[in-house]
C-alpha cells in the first residue's frame, strides 16, 4: 500500500516535470513561428493602403506593443492607463510599452530584432542603432502614401528636410522628431569653487585647465573632472569639445571609427584623427591634467554615474549636451540650492552642428501587423496636444504643473515620470521647464547664428564591406587610445606611434579607402 503510493507520487512528479519542459519549449517555438508568419504581414498592409486611400478603418480594436529605451517610470501605470483610455476613444487601440533599461539596452535592442519579437513601434535614433538596424532590415519602409494617409498632422507639421535627413540609402524608416537641437558639448562646473579661488571665466581650454587643476590641488575629497570610460564608448564628450569642435572637425561615426573630415571641406577628405598634430597637442593637454590629479588614476575602471557624483559633491565637472547639463543645473537648484553650478562653452565662436532630425524618432518594426494603427499612434504622440502633454510630462497637477501652453514646472511627483526616451516624439508642442536655466537658453540662442550646415550632414556609412576591420579598430581604440588619452601612458610619442601602428594592422587604411569612396559617391550624387 505504502509502496504503491510512493510509486504513484514518483510517476506524477516525473510527468509534471516532463510537461513543464514541453510547455516551456512550446513557448519558445511559438515565438519563432509568429515571427515567420509575421514577415508576410507588412506586405499585405501596404497593399491594403494603396487599394484604399480613404479614411482608415478602425472598427477592429488592436493592441499595440511599443519598445522604448530607459527605465520604466514609477507612474507608468497611471499615465499609460490614461493614455489608453484616450487612445481607445481616438483610434480604437491600446498600447503596451516595454522598457529597455539604460544599463543594457545596447545589447537587448538588437536582440529584439534578431529574435523577431512581436512588437509594433520602437524608439530609434542615429545614436541608437538606427542606420544599423535599417540596413539590416529591422524597420518597415515608410512611403509618402503611408505617411500622408495615416499621419496627416505630422505630414503637415514636419519640415520636408527632416524626412530627407532620416533616409538611409534613399529609403525612409523613421518618423523623426520635430525639434531643433545642437549636438555640441559643453562643460558643467562648480561656479562656487571658481569664485572661491578667484579664477578667470571659463571660455577656453586653458581657462578650463586652470579651473580643473586648482580644484584638484585645493579641494580634498573632490575629483576635479568626472568621466566614465569604463562604459566602453570609444569617443568621449570632452574629446568632442577639445578636438572636434575646437578644430571644426566632424567624426563620421564616432563610436566606431577615428575618421573625420573638416566641416568646411567641400571635398569631404577623410583623415585619421589620431595621426594629426592637433591630437598630439591634445595628448599633452590631457597628460598635464592627469599628472595634476584632475581625474582619478583609475578612471578607466570607474563605473559610477558621473552626474550623481557631481550632485553628491564628489566630482566638480563633466562634459555633456547643453540640454542635459541645463537639466542638471535646474535639478541642483531645486535639490541643493547652496551648490552653485554653471555651464561653459569651451569653444565659443566655432561652428556649431545642429542635430539632424534622426537625433530622436520612432520607427515601425518590419514585421508589425498593425502598421496603420501604429502610424496613427505616432501621429497623436507627436502632434495631438492632449496626448503629447500626457506622454511627455505625465499627469497634470501630479507629475507636472502646466504653465500656459508653452511652459511647465515640475509637479510633486515629477520624479515618477521621467528618464526614458519619450523624446522620440519631440515636437513644437514641447513645453519648456520654467526652471530651465536662463543662461542655457541664452547660450542656445547665441549659437543659432553659428549653426553650420554642410553637405555630409546626413551621410551614413555602410560598414558591411569592411566589417572585420571595423570590429578590430574598435578594439584597438579601447585598448590603446583610451589609456593614452587619460594620461595613463607616460611616453606620449611612443603611445601615439603604437596606437597608429595597431590601427594600421587592424586595417584602418582599407576602411578609410572604403569610406572615402562612399563619401565621394554621396557628394557626387548631391550635385
Amino acid at each position: 500500500m505504502m509502496k504503491n503510493k510512493t510509486k504513484k507520487l514518483t510517476v506524477t512528479l516525473a510527468t509534471m516535470m516532463a510537461l513543464g519542459t514541453i510547455l516551456s519549449a512550446c513557448g519558445g517555438n511559438n515565438n519563432a513561428n509568429t515571427g515567420a508568419e509575421a514577415t508576410k504581414a507588412p506586405a499585405t498592409a501596404t497593399e491594403g493602403t494603396a487599394a484604399n486611400p480613404g479614411a482608415p478603418d478602425t472598427s477592429k480594436e488592436v493592441k499595440l506593443k511599443m519598445l522604448l529605451i530607459g527605465g520604466q517610470p514609477g507612474d507608468y501605470d497611471k499615465v499609460f492607463g490614461e493614455l489608453n483610455t484616450k487612445l481607445k476613444e481616438k483610434i480604437n487601440a491600446t498600447v503596451e510599452t516595454e522598457f529597455l533599461d539604460w544599463s543594457d539596452w545596447t545589447q537587448k535592442y538588437p536582440l529584439k530584432f534578431a529574435a523577431n519579437e512581436d512588437f509594433d513601434l520602437v524608439y530609434t535614433a542615429n545614436w541608437a542603432l538606427y542606420n544599423d538596424q535599417a540596413l539590416k532590415g529591422g524597420f518597415l519602409e515608410l512611403t509618402d502614401d503611408l505617411l500622408s494617409t495615416y499621419m496627416p498632422q505630422t505630414w503637415e507639421a514636419m519640415p520636408k528636410v527632416n524626412w530627407e535627413q532620416a533616409k538611409v540609402d534613399g529609403k525612409l524608416f523613421m518618423v523623426p522628431n520635430n525639434n531643433v537641437e545642437v549636438t555640441d558639448k559643453v562643460v558643467l562646473y562648480r561656479e562656487d569653487l571658481r569664485k572661491k579661488y578667484n579664477l578667470p571665466e571659463i571660455n577656453s581650454l586653458e581657462s578650463y585647465a586652470t579651473y580643473l587643476k586648482t580644484v584638484a590641488k585645493e579641494e580634498t575629497g573632490i575629483t576635479a573632472y568626472g568621466a566614465k570610460p569604463a562604459d566602453g564608448w570609444k569617443w568621449h564628450e570632452l574629446d568632442q569639445a577639445t578636438l572636434e569642435q575646437n578644430n571644426d572637425w566632424n567624426l563620421v561615426d564616432a563610436n566606431l571609427l577615428p575618421l573625420a573630415y573638416k566641416l568646411d571641406d567641400a571635398t569631404g577628405k577623410i583623415f585619421n584623427i589620431y595621426d594629426t598634430p592637433e591630437f598630439r597637442e591634445l595628448l599633452t593637454y590631457y597628460k598635464d591634467l592627469a599628472d595634476n590629479g584632475v581625474w582619478s588614476k583609475n578612471v578607466v575602471s570607474n563605473k559610477n554615474d558621473v552626474w550623481q557624483d557631481i550632485k553628491a559633491e564628489k566630482v566638480s565637472s563633466y562634459a555633456q549636451n547643453l540640454g542635459t547639463v541645463a537639466a542638471n543645473v535646474s535639478e541642483m537648484r531645486r535639490d541643493k540650492p547652496d551648490v552653485e553650478l554653471a555651464i561653459a562653452d569651451l569653444t565659443p565662436g566655432k561652428k556649431k552642428i545642429a542635430a539632424i532630425s534622426t537625433q530622436n524618432g520612432m520607427a515601425i518594426h518590419a514585421t508589425s501587423k498593425n502598421v496603420e494603427r501604429s502610424l496613427m499612434l505616432i501621429d497623436l504622440l507627436q502632434n495631438d496636444k492632449e496626448i503629447h502633454d500626457l506622454t511627455m510630462y505625465g499627469i497634470a497637477g501630479t507629475n507636472y504643473i502646466p504653465d500656459g501652453d508653452k511652459k511647465y514646472s515640475a509637479g510633486p511627483a515629477a520624479a515618477n515620470y521621467t528618464g526614458f526616451s519619450n523624446w522620440g516624439w519631440n515636437s513644437p508642442l514641447n513645453r519648456q521647464d520654467s526652471a530651465y536655466p536662463v543662461e542655457a537658453d541664452n547660450m542656445f540662442n547665441s549659437w543659432q547664428s553659428s549653426i553650420y550646415h554642410f553637405p555630409l550632414e546626413t551621410f551614413v556609412f555602410d560598414s558591411t564591406p569592411v566589417k572585420n576591420e571595423v570590429a578590430n579598430i574598435g578594439n584597438v581604440m579601447l585598448r590603446y587610445a583610451i589609456p593614452l588619452e587619460y594620461g595613463l601612458i607616460d611616453d606620449l610619442d611612443k603611445g601615439q606611434a603604437d596606437l597608429i601602428k595597431q590601427l594600421k594592422s587592424a586595417g584602418i587604411d582599407k576602411v578609410q579607402t572604403e569610406l572615402q569612396s562612399q563619401i565621394d559617391a554621396f557628394l557626387a550624387a548631391q550635385k
Binding site: A18, I22, L129, K136, N302, N468, E469, L478
Partner: protein, 314 residues
C-alpha cells in the same frame, strides 16, 4: 513451440524493461528534452557562422559568405594571445580550485563538531551566490588607487600605494584568487559528499593498524576521491576555451591597460562586436571555441581511457 515462446519473451523483454523502469525513464525525459531543445536543435544555428545575417532572410534565408566571419578574429593579430590566455586561465582555475576545494573538504571532514562544520560550510558557500557585478564593485573598492581599502591601509602604514588597476601583471594572481574564493564552497560540498560516502570501515581498520591522520588522508581519502576528481576535471576541460565572461568582464571591464594579461576570447569578441552587432561574426567565434573544446575533451578522454578505462567519461 519452445522457440516461438522464446522469441515472444525476447520481444516482450524491451517493453517489459520500459514498463519496469517507467518512472525512472519518465524522470529522464526532461533532461533528454532539455538537451534536444536547447543543445541539439539550436546547433543548426552554427550555419550562421558562414552567413551574412539579415532580418528578412533570418537564420536559413540569409546569404552565405564562406569564411568571411572568421576573418576579423584571425586578422586581428590577437587570436593567439586571447586563445592562450583563455586556456591558461582555465587550466589555472581547474588546478587551483580543485586543490583548494579538496583541501577544504578534507579539513572539514576531519574537524569534529557538527555545528562548526555546518557554519563553516555555509560561510564558504556564500560567495558562490554573489553576482560577478557585485564582486567587480567590491574589487574596485578594494583595489582602486585613490580611496581603495588596500591603498588606504598601505598609506596608513607609511608605504607607497600600489596602482593595481594600471598594472597588468597583478591580474592573473587576482583573478585566480577570486575564482578560488568564489567557487570554494560549491566544490567543497561536492567533495565532502564524496568523502562521506567512503566506507568508514576502511578508516576503522586503518586506525587499528596504527595509521596516523596524515596516512589515513593520503592512503584512503585521496585515492577514493580520485574518480570524482577525474570526472569533474574532464567535464571542466571541455570548457577550457570558454572564458567566464561574467568574471572577466566585471573584474576588468574596458580597462585597456590590463588587456594584455586578462583578455579572453569571450571578452575580446564582446568588445569587437558590441557596437556592430554582427551576429554571424559572434557565431563564428562561438563555433571556433566549440571546435577547440570538442577536440580537447576527446583528447583528454582518450588519455584517461588509456590510463584507466573505467574512469573515462565514455
Amino acid at each position: 513451440m519452445e522457440r516461438g515462446f522464446k522469441m515472444k519473451q525476447k520481444q516482450h523483454g524491451f517493453w517489459d524493461d520500459v514498463k519496469k523502469y517507467r518512472s525512472l525513464l519518465l524522470m529522464l525525459v526532461p533532461a533528454v528534452l532539455f538537451f534536444l531543445l536547447f543543445a541539439y536543435i539550436p546547433m543548426s544555428g552554427i550555419i550562421l557562422a558562414f552567413k551574412q545575417y539579415d532580418y528578412t532572410g533570418g537564420v536559413f534565408g540569409s546569404p552565405w559568405n564562406g569564411w568571411d566571419n572568421f576573418k576579423f578574429f584571425f586578422n586581428s593579430g590577437d587570436a593567439w594571445r586571447v586563445t592562450r590566455n583563455t586556456a591558461l586561465y582555465n587550466i589555472a582555475f581547474i588546478v587551483v580550485n580543485n586543490v583548494v576545494q579538496i583541501f577544504a573538504a578534507i579539513l572539514l571532514f576531519e574537524v569534529a563538531g557538527k555545528w562548526f562544520r555546518k557554519i563553516t560550510q555555509t560561510v564558504l558557500f556564500l560567495p558562490y551566490f554573489i553576482s560577478w557585478v557585485v564582486v567587480g564593485a567590491i574589487a574596485y573598492n578594494l583595489f582602486n588607487f585613490d580611496v581603495g581599502t588596500i591603498n588606504v591601509l598601505l598609506k596608513g602604514l607609511g608605504m607607497q600605494p600600489v596602482d593595481i588597476y594600471n598594472t597588468a601583471s597583478y591580474w592573473p594572481v587576482i583573478l585566480v584568487v577570486v575564482s578560488a574564493w568564489k567557487t570554494l564552497g560549491y566544490g567543497t560540498i561536492m567533495y565532502l559528499a564524496a568523502i562521506t560516502s567512503i566506507d568508514t570501515e576502511m578508516y576503522e581498520a586503518a586506525e587499528i593498524d596504527g595509521a596516523n591522520i596524515f596516512q589515513r588522508i593520503m592512503k584512503i581519502t585521496v585515492p577514493n576521491l580520485m574518480p570524482t576528481v577525474i570526472i569533474l576535471v574532464l567535464l571542466a576541460i571541455g570548457n577550457v576555451f570558454r572564458g567566464d565572461f561574467g568574471m572577466f568582464y566585471n573584474m576588468v571591464g574596458n580597462n585597456g591597460l590590463l588587456f594584455s594579461s586578462t583578455d579572453v576570447i569571450d571578452t575580446f569578441v564582446f568588445r569587437s562586436l558590441t557596437t556592430s552587432n554582427e551576429i554571424g561574426m559572434s557565431a563564428a567565434a562561438g563555433f571556433y571555441q566549440s571546435l577547440l573544446g570538442f577536440v580537447t575533451i576527446m583528447l583528454a578522454n582518450y588519455a584517461v581511457r588509456k590510463y584507466d578505462k573505467d574512469r573515462a567519461l565514455f
